[in-house]
């Protein structure tokens, strides 16, 4: 269950990296790669272990100068947890 205070980090051995030739971020892991769209990359970049979920929402709403992103962000975070890209740290 995702709460306001939940913190996320990239799973061990996963790497989020900008690919110049593809002009997008990719998630790299043993013998695999996921090509990320813009919003997914923006959210995953914030899964750095320092931010609480509520901070991630604030940061993105400020960055994109909009409100009501919470449910979209939660959906992506849930999917990323399901794929094993990120883990709950606390």
């Amino acid at each position: 269950m995702i709460q306001d205070t939940t913190r996320f980090g990239l799973s061990p051995h996963y790497r989020l990296q900008w690919e110049e030739s593809q002009q997008r971020f990719v998630m790299l892991y043993p013998e695999g790669m996921v090509e990320l769209n813009g919003p997914a990359a923006e959210i995953l970049k914030l899964c750095d272990g320092t931010r609480r979920f509520i901070d991630m929402v604030d940061t993105l709403e400020t960055a994109f100068d909009t409100k009501g992103l919470r449910s979209d962000i939660e959906e992506l975070v849930q999917a990323a947890l399901g794929h094993g890209w990120i883990t709950i740290l606390s």
Partner: protein
């Protein structure tokens, strides 16, 4: 032209660097070419570094370091450090044999991202028989070291008739070793595996039993261990999509510098694959006839030519078509629509005859002596 499907295009994403054909093991299902002993002139450290740089500039991001046994290259750490600095995700694909705690630490400090080790069977006698070398206890110790040094534990077990009945034990071994990923690779019949096909191919019943066990276990360990199951395509009715499209995603460079659209493509007659000693990776990828050879649909014969599924499977594997039919442009005979599908059924039949024979053929082990005789 409007209405016609276009062949996918792209830059290389995966570079498979086969650093050497030397290997202390002798697995009879090795995918290296049978004549590997004739191709021993290995690329230098500088040449490999140039290959890594040029492929990276084109967009390659996953790097497989394989062989043979890549650990026999004394410059492995140098190569890894260069690759990591370029931004590759570096995957070492090894037997684990001869890997010490010090070497693992050294590779890690060079920036290696992950180590995949292979174990032949979940028990000593069979493992050592298949590897042709006493290696079981050492491989298990190495698996534990990999884990304790903070790498993901990626275990690969190649599946065939000698070990397919041990699927439960294989899964238990993977759990006991703390594997994060388990690759269950049903043997693909190329190279030495093709030579030993009659002795290695399981029956359909054996394959179905093993697959059911593996799939059930996959559900059970979901979230703890990721299981990749590579299907044996002789029992499928559609072929696998050849290299995700010829020359669209994958680039292999063999120990002698030959650049290949797929790691088996050396066997295809007249393909004339370019060598990285003579051309840049960009020239090879964009201009070489070999990489352009099947990078479209025009080469296809019927039934592929008019088949709507050609955009999904690209007619299947060119090397398999060649090995089974002698024609590299034929529909991969795994496809039930292939007029030569009976060649697959015959192969299955021959393997079954060997299995029940009172005098089954011995396995031919992959070593330099056999390579010089048979290659």
């Amino acid at each position: 032209m409007a209405g016609l499907p276009s062949y996918p295009s792209g830059s290389p994403r995966w570079l498979l660097a086969e650093l050497t054909y030397r290997c202390p093991l002798q697995c009879p299902y090795c995918s290296n070419p049978v004549d590997y002993a004739q191709h021993q002139d290995e690329l230098s450290t500088e040449a490999w570094c140039r290959v890594f740089s040029e492929a990276r500039a084109l967009g390659a991001v996953q790097l497989g370091l394989s062989g043979g046994e890549p650990l026999v290259r004394k410059d492995l750490s140098t190569l890894i450090a260069h690759a990591r600095e370029l931004g590759y995700y570096t995957n070492l694909i090894t037997s684990g044999y001869g890997l010490t705690e010090e070497r693992i630490a050294e590779l890690k400090s060079s920036g290696l991202d992950h180590i995949q080790i292979s174990i032949q069977a979940p028990e000593k006698t069979l493992n050592d028989k298949l590897a042709g070398t006493e290696s079981f206890e050492e491989k298990k110790a190495v698996a534990r070291l990999i884990k304790t040094q903070g790498y993901p534990m990626v275990l690969c077990v190649v599946i065939h008739r000698e070990n397919i009945h041990l699927m439960n034990e294989i899964l238990e071994m993977a759990t006991a070793l703390g594997a994060d990923y388990l690759e269950l690779a049903n043997t693909q019949y190329y190279g030495w595996a093709h030579l030993n096909r009659d002795q290695l191919m399981p029956t359909r019943a054996q394959f179905e039993t093993a697959e059911a066990i593996a799939q059930a276990y996959k559900e059970k360990v979901k979230g703890q261990m990721k299981i990749y199951y590579v299907v044996p395509d002789y029992y499928e009715d559609r072929p696998k999509p050849c290299m995700n499209g010829w020359g669209t995603t994958f680039l292999t460079v063999a120990p002698d510098g030959l650049a290949l659209p797929c790691h088996e493509a050396r066997i295809l007659p007249g393909l004339d694959c370019p060598n990285v000693r003579d051309f840049s990776i960009k020239e090879i990828w964009e201009e070489s006839p070999a990489f352009k050879h099947f990078r479209h649909f025009d080469w296809m014969e019927e039934p592929c030519k008019s088949c709507p599924e050609k955009i999904k499977d690209f007619g299947g594997c060119r090397c398999q078509a060649y090995l089974l039919t002698g024609n590299m442009k034929a529909t991969d005979p795994v496809c039930s629509k292939s007029p030569l599908h009976h060649t697959v059924e015959e192969a299955i039949h021959l393997a079954e005859q060997d299995r029940v024979s009172s005098a089954p053929k011995p396995l031919i082990f992959r070593n330099s002596g056999n390579s010089k005789t048979l290659g």
